[in-house]
């Protein structure tokens, strides 16, 4: 880690690095939930952390988390034209204990595709809540914290996401 010259202390840099370590993946994921574009997500991560750095003197410890998400939301809103997202989530490596059928892999693949298309149909705000919960395993209260919303709102969005998913996923597979 190089230490570029400038008007800031090592303590500031150390603090920044710890925030980066803590939230890099989450913010990148969040940007991906919103845009469905990996490269865009990388760019957004850059912008978000740069803005955090620029405003580092105004940031108080416990507001960092929600501030990062707010900056991310605003950056995406302001800079990137809203497009229909096309997800390309990867599957986590796992021992497939559910595959008790021969055509399981194929079936899973199809379901997976269906799911990702259906996800794109969920309104953005509910979708990101759903994905934060499902993919990152964040609790409702943690999500509420990060987005600066109430747990009630998270619950509402979660249930909206679920009901849309339910209606979009066909049983005829």
């Amino acid at each position: 880690m190089t230490l570029p010259p400038g008007k800031y202390s090592n303590a500031e840099l150390a603090w920044f690095r710890s925030i980066f370590d803590q939230y890099y993946e989450s913010i990148r994921s969040f940007a991906y939930y919103k845009t469905g574009d990996v490269d865009l997500a990388d760019d957004i991560v850059q912008e978000v952390f740069l803005k955090l750095w620029t405003n580092r003197n105004d940031v108080k410890g416990d507001t960092v988390k929600s501030l990062l998400y707010t900056i991310a939301s605003n950056t995406i809103k302001n800079h990137f034209k809203h497009q229909k997202v096309v997800y390309n989530f990867q599957k986590q490596e796992q021992s497939n204990e559910f595959s008790d059928e021969a055509d399981s892999d194929l079936r899973q693949e199809e379901l997976n595709r269906k799911l990702q298309d259906a996800l794109a149909e969920i309104p953005e705000k509910s979708r990101e809540v759903f994905l934060m919960n499902r993919i990152e395993g964040l609790t409702y209260s943690d999500i509420a914290d990060r987005l600066g919303l109430s747990v009630k709102t998270i619950e509402k969005r979660m249930s909206e996401a679920l009901s849309i998913l339910r209606s979009r996923i066909s049983y005829k597979i």
Partner: protein, 298 residues
């Protein structure tokens, strides 16, 4: 049949949904093409550039640009305003010892006494028939022409086509009507009409005007270089003397404003003029070798 199908559908739907949820938990955001450490390095690079360029240079540049544009705008405004003023107003300013005759845009003639200034608009004369005067001038107004002469203390002479003399020097204000009639506005409420052979004089602001009777002459005597005074404050007389001969006058041992003078002088001979004033007032005088300064003593 129908309910059975419903149940099957529902059951299979629930199964699917559970599976969907399971799958969704196992999804993963695709890996970044650059990776976390590369992302951090890029951030550090940007921060470095920021701390050098953005934080120091860019805001300064922006504010400098702003100031440059403000300054440029002001300069243009000042230039345009002064050019407009310069080219649309006409100003005659006579120095001491000078005398001249000018014509206004309506071809009325103005004879200016020494150390006098008139300003009027070159353009827009029709919409703004106003001549500002500081000093003394004799107006021979073209018949039927109308305009207003403004002087200090908001005193105005409203012209209705006549010959008249206006004197406005500091506190001293005097209008003499030589032909026709003229209206003099002393204050916003008080207008005095003067007819041929009548004049008015005000020595101090706020003082009531006193009337003057003119001898039956066609024009003020100053035009011929003769200056008559009838019980006039000596400092006014000395001012006129200084004006006509372009000399600096110093007084010593007495207050000219406290004494009044009655008499006359001509502006063609300094010694004669000084004698005419000083002898009756029991004053003595000295003229400097280059004839630019005079000291008057008691």
């Amino acid at each position: 049949m129908k309910t059975e199908e419903d149940n099957i559908l529902k059951g299979s739907s629930e199964d699917n949904f559970d599976e969907i949820l399971r799958i969704s938990s196992n999804l993963k955001v695709p890996a970044s093409s650059q990776g976390k450490e590369a992302s951090w390095d890029k951030l550090m690079h940007s921060i470095e550039e920021d701390s050098i360029d953005e934080v120091k240079v860019i805001p300064l540049l922006a504010s400098r640009k702003l100031w440059y544009s403000v300054a440029a705008t002001l300069l243009v405004l000042i230039a345009v305003t002064s050019l407009t003023y310069r080219y649309t107003t006409v100003e005659f300013h006579l120095a001491k010892g000078q005398k001249t005759s000018k014509f206004l845009p309506d071809s009325s003639e103005v004879k200016l006494n020494s150390e006098s200034k008139i300003v009027y608009r070159r353009f827009g004369w029709l919409s703004n028939r106003e001549v500002s005067l500081n000093g003394e001038a004799f107006f021979c107004v073209k018949h039927g022409s109308q305009f207003t002469i403004t002087t200090e203390f908001d005193r105005k002479v409203i012209v209705t086509g006549t010959k008249f003399n206006v004197l406005a020097r500091g506190d001293h204000f005097e209008v003499k009507c030589f032909d026709g009639s003229v209206n003099v506005q002393i204050s916003s409420k008080k207008i005095i009409s003067l007819t041929k052979g009548v004049g008015l004089t005000i020595n101090k602001p706020g003082e009531l005007p006193s009337q003057i009777k003119l001898d039956s002459i066609a024009e003020p005597t100053w035009i011929k270089g003769e200056f008559y005074f009838n019980n006039i404050s000596l400092n006014i007389v000395l001012d006129e003397l200084s004006r006509q001969f372009n000399i600096a006058i110093k007084t010593d041992g007495f207050a000219p404003s406290a004494r009044n003078y009655t008499g006359f002088f001509k502006n063609n001979h300094l010694v004669k003029a000084l004698d005419l004033i000083c002898i009756p007032m029991e004053l003595t005088y000295q003229i400097s070798s280059d004839s630019t300064r005079v000291i008057i003593k008691k």
